[in-house]
């Protein structure tokens, strides 16, 4: 019996989801990425001193977090965890249902926030919450059945716990808007930001990095004890931040939480840089330049958090912190990883039924990615400058450049889809 690798992939026990499912998540993320920059353009007047409250900056923030970061994290984790932890895909129906429930939910949340329509926001939030609960159940089943990779699995469980806190605080914030607060507003905001960014999304980003970075660098598996220690430090930092949010020695515990979080990040980055240093593949290109910039901005976000905890006189401090954390670390890191993983995943799917699968590089388009790279970094720098100088005009210009970059990224994605669906050349 001789089977082409692609035919083998299509076997009944495949750990690959049908291509339509991960590409539904990634496609939605690409669209929301563009929408986020456009929402920011619409809210540029409020952006330089934005800290909270309804409006287009809040909509832009949630288009990035829910629409790009969580959307991609769901797609990536549903696809990668079965592959990495040696499990067959148990259900293709539920990942598809979640995508179709979550995507309009995010759109409704963003529109409700941007236009100030509580009913739309409420409906969207309900859809997003239901979808995330269903995702949490799928993730839990995946993690429970995992074989090997205890470091990645620990990050997954911790991210799952954080997701529950994020959902509870989101509910509290939504009810506060309707006049029925569950928690003190400042407490709910502090918990929501920490557990969403460093907790749920951050832990998934850190955990999936233990699979993706060595895989792309072609290095040995990271040390499991160190990755579990890093995860435990992140959890400890979040617990301290939660106590501070509830008013227990707030300034002291925030500083200790940031210190513990910094130790976790240092340990994580030491392993990641070690993987890059010892890997067989040294030329990782533009995508890993974004990943490295994301890592630098993760460290900068902790420094900004420390400045806020110490009440340092930083113009637009809370906005700069949010920009560094969400736009600087999470979005930059994710876009770097995404432009690397999409051609790879497309090649794996396009391999079905072919003796020779198309190469990832033949499916990718370099020029749109080069434009995106320049625009993304220019836009982030422009936004930071707009916040420091309190300039709505500069914020609008930066958002426009960001939208151009997001359009270029969407072109890259469309070219990839088109090339992936191209029929195999005749043998």
């Amino acid at each position: 019996m001789k089977l082409a690798a692609g035919a083998f992939l299509a076997g009944a026990t495949s750990r690959l989801l049908p291509a339509s499912i991960p590409f539904c998540y990634f496609g939605a993320a690409v669209v929301f990425h563009l929408c986020a920059w456009l929402a920011l353009l619409a809210g540029a007047g409020q952006l330089p001193r934005f800290s909270a409250g309804p409006g287009w900056p809040l909509a832009a923030l949630h288009l990035v977090t829910l629409g790009v970061l969580v959307m991609t994290a769901i797609g990536a984790s549903l696809q990668l965890l079965p592959v990495a932890t040696r499990q067959p895909v148990r259900s293709t129906r539920w990942p598809a249902i979640i995508c179709w429930l979550y995507t309009p939910g995010v759109a409704a949340v963003a529109l409700g926030m941007g236009r100030g329509v509580p009913l739309l926001l409420g409906l969207g939030a309900a859809a997003v919450t239901l979808a995330l609960i269903a995702y949490a159940a799928l993730l839990a089943i995946n993690l429970y059945g995992a074989r090997g990779m205890p470091g990645v699995v620990a990050h997954g469980w911790a991210a799952l716990g954080c997701l529950l806190v994020v959902l509870a605080t989101a509910l509290s914030l939504a009810l506060t808007w309707l006049g029925l607060p569950l928690l003190d507003h400042a407490t709910a905001v502090a918990l929501h930001i920490a557990f969403a960014a460093y907790g749920f999304m951050g832990l998934l980003a850190l955990g999936l990095s233990y699979i993706l970075v060595p895989m792309f660098a072609l290095s040995a598996a990271p040390d499991e004890r160190q990755s579990i220690t890093s995860c435990a430090l992140v959890v400890a930092a979040l617990a301290l931040a939660a106590l501070a949010a509830f008013g227990v020695a707030p300034q002291l515990l925030r500083i200790v939480a940031i210190t513990v979080g910094s130790a976790a990040v240092a340990l994580h980055l030491r392993q990641m840089l070690g993987a890059l240093r010892t890997g067989m593949r040294r030329e990782l290109g533009r995508s890993f330049t974004l990943v490295r910039i994301g890592w630098v901005l993760l460290a900068v976000s902790l420094a900004a958090a420390l400045a806020l905890a110490l009440d340092a006189p930083l113009p637009g401090g809370p906005t700069l912190f949010g920009l560094t954390l969400i736009g600087g670390w999470l979005l930059t890191f994710l876009l770097g990883i995404l432009q690397r993983i999409l051609p790879f995943l497309a090649s794996m799917h396009a391999a079905r039924g072919r003796l020779r699968p198309p190469t990832p590089s033949s499916l990718s388009a370099d020029r749109p990615l080069a434009i995106h790279f320049a625009c993304h970094l220019t836009a982030l720098a422009g936004l930071a400058l707009a916040v420091v100088t309190d300039s709505p005009t500069l914020a609008a210009l930066a958002a426009g450049v960001g939208a151009l970059g997001a359009t270029a990224f969407a072109v890259f994605f469309l070219v990839l889809l088109r090339r992936m669906q191209r029929p195999a050349p005749a043998a």
């Binding site: 690798a5 750990r15 072609l218 290095s219 067989m280 790879f344």
Partner: protein
């Protein structure tokens, strides 16, 4: 690629008449991928590589295509995946 980056090759290697064999069973991801690509990168002629694996190496095929190799699955005992890799360019 830099095949000599890791001085200690992963997996168990041996040579038979049908090619160079590598057993990557039991290695944690991405160990099998790295071990196979290390071996493939060290081969300069048309010698085939036979991979003894405990699972379908989903990530391998795109990497092989990228460097001008391809994989075929061969009959194997239950619980083992046997692949024959050969250069295409």
């Amino acid at each position: 690629m830099n095949p000599s980056a890791d001085p200690a090759p992963l997996g168990i290697r041996w040579r038979e008449r049908d090619g160079v064999h590598i057993d990557v069973r039991g290695l944690a991801p991405p160990g099998p991928l790295v071990a196979i690509l290390q071996l493939v990168a060290s081969i300069s002629d048309a010698t085939p590589v036979l991979v003894h694996h405990d699972r379908d190496p989903l990530m391998l095929y795109a990497e092989l295509a990228q460097i001008g190799w391809r994989a075929e699955r061969l009959p194997s005992p239950a619980g083992e995946v046997l692949l024959r890799l050969e250069r295409t360019q």
